[in-house]
Amino acid sequence: MLYIINKSHTDNLALSKCLQTASATDVVLLIEHAVYAALELSQSPLTAMAGSAVTVYALSPDMQARGVQQAACLDFIQYVDYAGFVELVAANQPIRSCF
């Protein structure tokens, strides 16, 4: 399952909730204000996920827009641009937009 998260974790519990049930076959994609959760010092629920089997992507154009640097992010985060976003959509089913 592909979870698309678009809200900051300090605003909304969508990220926490999806991480509670996400398993090794699941993919989480952070877009829009949710990219702040990729930051190592964000105190986001992702910071406790190192070593977990869940795959987490962040949308790099949304990071650039916000000045979120890859060097400051958790090391298990992977990065995609919009082309990669499309590939994630094509490769995963079902998809849940957690808005």
Binding site: Y82, A83, V86, E87, V89, A90, Q93, S97, F99
Partner: protein
């Protein structure tokens, strides 16, 4: 792959319309087909023809119209969401003395059936919201 898109939020105040537009561009480049873009809830405000953002900013409404003109993508505004919020079908507008040309170029107003069709026929349906 046939991909269908749904927009649930107003333009400018939320990033949904921007995210969807960039996603669609990338999907087209990758050779996918955009089956339909369906505007629901406050998403219908994306279709207001009179939108005039400052000249140094992107024009979200015009960008949708161009997407239809250049790629023939079906842009459908939900009739019940639209009527509630102030965007009328031409025939209704004519009847009640409303704005017949309120809908920007390239959009059409139709019922929820077209959303169902998109969900049933497309391989993927992606929602963008607030």
């Amino acid at each position: 792959m046939k991909i269908s898109i749904q927009i649930n939020a107003s333009p400018y105040q939320h990033q949904a319309a921007d995210s969807a537009w960039h996603f669609i561009q990338a999907a087209l480049v990758a050779g996918h087909q955009i089956y339909r873009v369906f505007f629901y809830h406050d998403g219908i405000y994306n279709a207001l023809r009179d939108s005039r953002p400052p000249g140094d900013e992107r024009d979200i409404v015009k960008r949708w119209s161009a997407l239809q003109a250049e790629h023939g993508i079906d842009l459908v505004v939900c009739v019940s969401s639209a009527q509630r919020r102030g965007l009328l079908e031409q025939s209704v507008a004519r009847k009640v003395g409303g704005y017949e040309a309120a809908l920007a170029d390239g959009f059409r107003i139709a019922g929820l059936g077209l959303l169902m069709e998109a969900i049933i026929d497309a391989d993927r349906h992606i929602c963008f919201g607030s």
